[in-house]
């Protein structure tokens, strides 16, 4: 079966793996992992420039935004106003319109504050942003985000950075059934098999940061994630067998001696 292209807001991307750029030991380690991941979208955050150390290395010096799509996020934002301010600044840096909205409601569990997230999606869409939305795995909220103009639905698998894997496969499947928008698992992936499971559930992509950045060998884990995403996607498209409670012999009894 030939796969359809991975398209977000009418732009085609080669890789279904999106990689975060936070938590790496160094920019060079981050750049190396991104390369082996094969990702063509990376998430980035907006923060104050260090004015007292002007020679400090910059992310843009290591990861060329002309070669790889920067996806500015709203990490650390707790209200729609914070998120809009952050993304307007991101747009001013270099004209980015494709953005990742992430409005959190709790500093400990880092769950998304969905009322503010929905409000932000509406406001940002009206302002011309193409909004990929980090959200909980509630199908009703996913529908409301879609109606508000989101260009991608990005439910969590588990809390951000937890590495717990997909906790509620049923909800992800239900969201998959109801939306034609790109569905991307955004948080909670811990290992390569989690990424494969996400793809086998029918997701269009996976966004991974901590599981790669904090692995003992980030570059190798990035490659593992790349292969897992490809593998899971192929498995999904190939049409799995029906699970059976009892065995079904692989070898015929015909001609048995």
């Amino acid at each position: 079966m030939i796969d359809k292209r991975f398209k977000i807001a009418n732009k085609i991307f080669k890789s279904r793996l999106i990689v975060g750029t936070g938590k790496y030991k160094s920019f060079s380690e981050c750049a190396k992992a991104i390369k082996t991941s094969g990702a063509d979208i990376v998430t980035v955050a907006v923060r104050r420039v260090n004015i007292s150390n002007k020679n400090k290395a910059r992310l843009m010096d290591y990861i060329d935004p002309k070669k790889i799509t920067y996806l500015p996020n709203t990490a650390g934002c707790f209200t729609a106003e914070d998120a809009i301010r952050t993304l307007r600044l991101a747009r001013e840096i270099g004209g980015w319109k494709l953005v990742k909205l992430e409005v959190l409601g709790d500093k400990r569990n880092l769950f998304p504050e969905m009322i503010e997230t929905l409000r932000s999606t509406e406001l940002l869409t009206k302002e011309g942003f193409k909004v990929m939305v980090y959200c909980n795995d509630d199908p009703l909220m996913a529908k409301r985000l879609e109606n508000a103009g989101a260009v991608a639905i990005m439910p969590l698998a588990a809390p951000i950075g937890s590495g717990l894997g997909i906790q509620n496969k049923v909800n992800i499947k239900i969201i998959r059934k109801q939306t034609k928008l790109p569905l991307i698992i955004d948080a909670g992936i811990g290992q390569a098999s989690d990424a494969s499971i996400a793809m086998e559930l029918g997701c269009d992509g996976v966004l991974i940061n901590t599981a790669i950045a904090k692995a003992k060998n980030p570059s190798q884990m990035a490659e593992a994630m790349k292969l897992a995403v490809i593998s899971g996607r192929k498995s999904y498209l190939s049409g799995r067998i029906n699970p059976n409670l009892f065995g079904s012999a692989s070898t015929t009894n015909k001609g048995i001696i």
Binding site: C30, A75, I160
Partner: protein, 72 residues
């Protein structure tokens, strides 16, 4: 010549003193900021980077200069 009447502004949360009528462009040059990698806000209003030579900083201005860092 000693310059009198220096004015106070805040840049990324830090107080700075500048001479009156100092432009935003002069500030960015002084701080050696690469214009194509930053965005600037004055008193929470985003500044069009093409206009920075026309903007004169005023007493009490709160300037934010941001860039991209690693994030998830």
């Amino acid at each position: 010549m000693k310059i009198k009447n220096k004015i106070k502004i805040t840049v990324n949360g830090k107080q700075m003193q500048i001479i009156p009528k100092f432009t935003l462009k002069s500030l960015i040059t002084k701080l050696k900021m690469p214009l194509n990698k930053i965005a600037i806000e004055i008193n929470k209003k985003i500044i069009d980077k093409n206009r920075i030579s026309k903007i004169r900083l005023k007493k009490g201005d709160k300037i934010e200069i941001v860039h991209f860092i690693g994030g998830g």
